[in-house]
Amino acid sequence: MIISIASGKGGTGKTTVAANLAASLNQPVTVLDCDVEEPNLHLFLHPDIQSREKVIAPVPEIDLDRCTFCKKCMDICRFNAIAVTANTVVTFPELCHSCGGCTVICPENAVTEKERILGTVETGTVPLPDMNFGQGLLDIGQVMVPPVIRQVKSHRAPDQGITLIDAPPGTSCPVIAAMKDTDFVILVTEPTPFGLNDLKLAVETVRLLNIPHGLIINRAGMGDDAVYAYAKDKNLPVLMEIPYDKAIAQAYSKGDLIISQQEDYKEKFQTLYKKICLLADSEKCAP
């Protein structure tokens, strides 16, 4: 069972839900932080990182001795990552999408590929029973987020296990890369006009991907009722509410889990998982 936790925007409590749900399950779980631009989950779960791997993307390297400046590579590149002048070729690796087009098209075999580092994937364990951890970190100045996310996701739990994915915010390529091929999406929102606006976009995104989904309303009581009305209108199950509570906000500010401050939340998160099992494909649920 792979559950991704998403929201139209950051700051709604995605990471809080991911961390607390992971720590409440009485089953082996793998938690993956796919918010690779700003991974925060480690601040709550304190993983012991045991291995690091680089995320590598191929970018072209031009052999100027072979190059005849025919410009074919420049023409095939849709991302303006190659500029050919009368006697030289300049590449812009940060624009390159690593499609390999320039390499296949070059008639002189003057284009080879070298490796560019996009970021790092770290994996390890959390000092709680049976929890594996993984996160991606985009290098500063890099823009190719989806490959880093895909590499984090390659560390999901084996077959029967539960994987929780903390997705990045938004509705574009990074969040699609995170949610794709998962069994259930939890959408976390806040009952405010901003929360509602972002939730609508998030719902459109999951519906496009056709993944079963449900809602968690965080900071319940802080704003208005429009989110509830929308949920009802769109047939969105509200799986859980987390009240607007200064104690919870303070726990969060220190990097503490809600369940370590308020015991009864452990059961609430377990109930959440049971509800998810009913909504997702039942075969995916570990007994």
Binding site: G8, K9, G10, G11, T12, T15, E37, E38, N40, L43, F44, I76, R78, F79, H97, S98, C99, G100, G101, V104, I105, L138, I140, G141, Q142, V143, V145, P168, P169, G170, T171, S172, C173, P174, I176, K180, E190, T192, P193, F194, N197, D198, L201, E204, T205, L208, L209, M222, G223, D224, A249, Q250, Y252, S253, K254, G255
Partner: protein, 297 residues
């Protein structure tokens, strides 16, 4: 002309509410919402849309089954797993297609079309604080960086034409392509940080990004009284990294209440403690050397 980009590393720190509150503090400015992925500024600004334009972002490969002979070249060359084969029938999975066009160029039968596609829309509007340029990226679309760049370009061009000397840009979250597109050539950035362990982590990452691109950075701490230890930690880090602390805003439910009333914080209650803090921050930001406005003729 100056441009202040308000960033946060992550959404939900009050970036948009702060941008909105600032808008009322200067008589003539241009607003720009560069958070095209989940734009929220319009919810407070209630813009009266004057112009709507399509954003034609990229192209998408489409295989014509009549011309396709099933040779499999596209499947072999595509590095994004975007070509599906089902009993000799080849199709493109649009969610995986990066629009690189390699299959289009290399197909021996020229069986793949490459139509341009509309990835979103951008708007020019009137608001009660001045003109505003904003956009909406279509769901699951790429190229948010390009749309951000376009929105900022238009804001600049129109500000110049209207002799407006300040652009206030609500930036996107993260540190990836949209953020990089939002800070190039900005006069300065203001990071809105929350005093939480994750807030500090996020602020460091955007701070590093700003340093990487050599853009002067300032920080303000929202809800600073939520955790005073973390607030002090932010101040220390800012000092070490040469980031000016422009001020601290106390936790104040007025922000949410204002949002629900479709008002800026200062319209809702300009005497509340948060409103005072916002005014002070604005003063500090606008007197930063990177932001000092040249006299208009």
């Amino acid at each position: 002309m100056k441009e202040l980009v308000i960033l946060s590393g992550k959404g939900g720190t009050g970036k948009t509410s702060l941008t909105a509150a600032f808008a009322g503090l200067k008589s003539s400015l241009m607003l720009c919402d560069a958070d095209v992925d989940a734009a929220d500024l319009h919810l407070i600004m209630a813009p009266d849309v004057q112009e709507t334009h399509d954003f034609v972002g990229g192209n998408e490969a489409v295989i014509d089954p009549d011309r396709c002979t099933g040779c499999g070249t596209c499947l072999e060359l595509c590095r994004f797993d975007a070509i599906d084969e089902n009993q000799g029938e080849y199709t493109v999975d649009v969610l995986n297609c990066e629009g690189c066009g390699v299959c289009v160029d290399m197909c021996p039968e020229s069986a793949i079309d490459f139509p341009r596609k509309t990835c979103g829309q951008w708007f020019v509007s009137h608001t009660r604080f001045g003109p505003m340029v904003h956009a909406r990226l279509g769901i699951a679309e790429e190229n948010s960086g390009r749309l951000v760049a376009l929105v900022r370009e238009q804001a600049k061009k129109r500000a110049r034409d209207a002799h407006i000397d300040l652009i206030l840009t609500d930036g996107p979250p993260g540190i990836g392509c949209p953020v990089i597109a939002s800070i190039g050539q900005a006069s300065a950035i203001l990071i809105v940080a929350e005093p939480t362990v994750s807030g500090i982590h996020d602020m460091k990452r955007v701070g590093e990004l700003a340093a990487h691109f050599k853009i002067p950075a300032m920080v303000c701490i929202n809800k600073f009284d939520l955790n005073l230890d973390q607030t002090r930690a932010i101040e220390t880090i800012a000092r070490e990294k040469n980031i000016l602390v422009a001020g601290k805003i106390p936790f104040d439910p007025a922000f949410t209440k204002a949002m629900i009333q479709i008002q800026t914080l200062l319209e809702y209650d300009d005497t509340c403690p948060a409103a005072k803090a916002v005014r002070n921050i604005w003063e500090t930001v606008m007197t930063h050397p990177a932001m000092k406005l040249e006299r208009l003729m």
